[in-house]
Amino acid sequence: MNLSAIDPLLLLASLMVAATPILLAAIGELVVERAGVLNLGVEGMMIAGAVTGFVAATTTGSPWLGFLAAAGGGAALSLVFGLLTQFLLSNQVATGLALTLFGLGLSALMGQGYVGIKAPAFPDWHIPLLSDIPVIGPIVFQHDPMVYVGLLIVLAVWLFLKFTQAGLVLRAVGENHDAAHALGYHVRRVRLLAILFGGACAGLGGAYLSLVRVPQWTEGMTAGAGWIALAIVVFASWKPERLVLGAYLFGGVTVLQLNLQAAGVAVPVEILSMSPYLATIAVLVIMSAGRAPGSLGRIFHAAR
């Protein structure tokens, strides 16, 4: 065993990278749930984003276009969910689960012919000045742009929910859709927009896997990241600022277990491999005090 081989700076740096896909997907789902909708299809939207992003990026040669397409792909899939649950009033849990299965199948189909192809390079940014700061620089300021995009989205969501009127409306819709409706707000429109935002974010998260972290396309490559994102929303008690903590915790344990293995720690590999999930479950149990939005998962119908 040689723990000194683990460089804490690099560990923290790769933690940010490992957490980014979950963070992106989770912030989208957070907005959806704050609007009172439970979309369990995060995994499906992520993988749809992963494949559309990969196809677009390899076709055009531009990772940025890839991310754009991924957001579009995720949003398109979430639109299916939105139409089914908001206008046809289908059960949100069942529709969300179906969306995951549908997304996995559809992405496998779309990805035929893209297996084993290289993605265009997406170089890291070395932010001038900031990246030269000792300790903090290499940890925080030498990543690919999407890491910062993810954090900016979280910041924007926080500002939106806390300080804007539209954010207040969204929260009102999520807390009590009948009251919001009585006040004249468009419950379905707000929810549909939230669902689209959630889909786009999940798509970005998926594309981060296929374009940056791996970078390659393979069937089922999200490997449960969408479910972790859902858990992290609960862990964060539906608060954006806590979401970052949750995502980094999960990313940290993931990276740490690989580092411990490489350093030869005498802990069974199986236990190390399941540790990120164990940590997530443990934290969920401890933190279960959070209160969910009042109308979460309930079907809204104006006539009732």
Partner: protein, 359 residues
């Protein structure tokens, strides 16, 4: 996901035609069970190249079928039996984890010939075949030991089975031979093919100072991770992975199954098929060493090629004593050569490797 060549036509034809006529014209059906996708660029890709070679060799005499992405375990048995029910005459199951499902299927379908890659269980209608990948690993270790500057080699292992352990030992022995300070860091990925976790493992190893990455997993994700990191050397696994040459990929182990698949298919067509246990290496070409690129010093390249040629000529065996086991006890005396039985069941590290093999 079952892909068949001319399968629909064949099924239609055999249902419509009278029994006797169909019997006479029936092409030999050869099936393949793959653990990954044919586009993995590694292990499964090369098996599929072998399948295509069989088609090219026999033309209308054969019909090939394959199923890709078959999980190891119970699902595999379903896929194998389905293939046998569809009338396959010869079925190649191309991953270690298909061993017990193949044995079970072979019992149920005594008239179908089975061939299982990298396993150790045979039956009257079940042969086994593998390649001496450790010969290639020896060449990799020989190169890795000389080109590393950090003296740390990262090794992405798949499952703790003899084949993988043999590879680690062979690579380590030959790296240590040229560089006594070498250290191997090993991550067990518990997968043959999962680009995401392979990429994570490669990145972790690089962050811990490894500047050479050896992989026993099938995707090109570690190559991409090494390319992104820069100044990290890798080797193609199972396939040439030449799209990453000359850097980071500086050489490769190439599996060439085509001659074996053609030979065994011919045996079935001729009715001369018998249970066999084939384990070929560099000498017959089943293990190929991919082009060593100029990214490494010329003298390293020359000595690696010399090692390759000596192994091919049978002048040198990668497991030649003196070799001690990890605990320091003697495994092979001076000049003693490992027997195949020990190699096939290898479950121990050689002296110098750190860490323990997971149970």
């Amino acid at each position: 996901m079952i892909f068949t060549r001319r399968a629909v036509a064949a099924i239609l034809a055999s249902t419509l035609a009278t029994g006797a006529a169909a019997q006479d014209d029936d092409p030999t059906r050869v099936g393949f069970i793959y653990v990954g996708p044919v586009g993995d660029g590694g292990w499964t890709y090369e098996h599929d190249q072998g399948r295509l070679a069989v088609e090219a060799e026999f033309g209308d005499q054969v019909e090939t079928v394959f199923v890709e992405n078959v999980p190891e375990g119970a699902d595999a048995q379903r896929a194998i039996e389905q293939m046998a029910l569809q009338g396959a005459d010869l079925i190649f199951t191309t991953s270690f984890g298909f061993m017990d499902p193949t044995v079970a299927a072979a019992e149920k379908f005594p008239d179908v010939k089975f061939e299982h890659a990298t396993g150790y269980k045979t039956a009257d209608n079940l042969s086994i075949y593998s390649a001496r990948f450790y010969e290639g690993r020896a060449v990799q270790g020989h190169i890795a030991g000389q080109i590393t500057e950090s003296n740390i080699v990262g090794y992405i292992a798949s499952f703790p089975i003899p084949e993988v352990i043999r590879g680690i030992n062979a690579a380590y022995l030959h790296a240590q031979e040229v560089n006594p300070d070498i250290e191997f860091k090993i991550i067990w990925a518990y997968t043959w093919f999962d680009p995401a976790s392979e990429a994570d493992a490669a990145t972790t190893l690089i962050e811990q100072g490894a500047d050479v990455i050896l992989q026993h997993t099938d995707s090109t994700a570690p190559q991409a991770a090494a390319e992104a990191a820069g100044n990290v050397y890798t080797f193609g696994q199972a396939s040439d992975m030449s799209e990453y040459a000359p850097m980071p990929r500086v050489s490769s182990i190439i599996d060439n199954w085509a001659p074996y698949y053609i030979e065994r298919t011919r045996a079935v067509i001729d009715g001369t098929w018998e249970t066999s246990d084939r384990w070929d290496g560099i000498d017959t070409g089943m293990v190929g060493i991919g082009e060593i690129t100029d990214a490494i010093p010329a003298e390293v390249k020359a000595s690696a090629e010399d090692l390759r040629d000596r192994i091919a000529a049978g002048e040198y065996h990668p497991f030649t004593g003196p070799i001690n086991m990890q605990d320091g006890s003697v495994w092979l005396e001076e000049g003693e050569i490992a027997d195949d039985g020990t190699l096939l069941g290898m479950d121990f590290y050689v002296e110098g490797l750190t860490g323990t093999i997971p149970e």
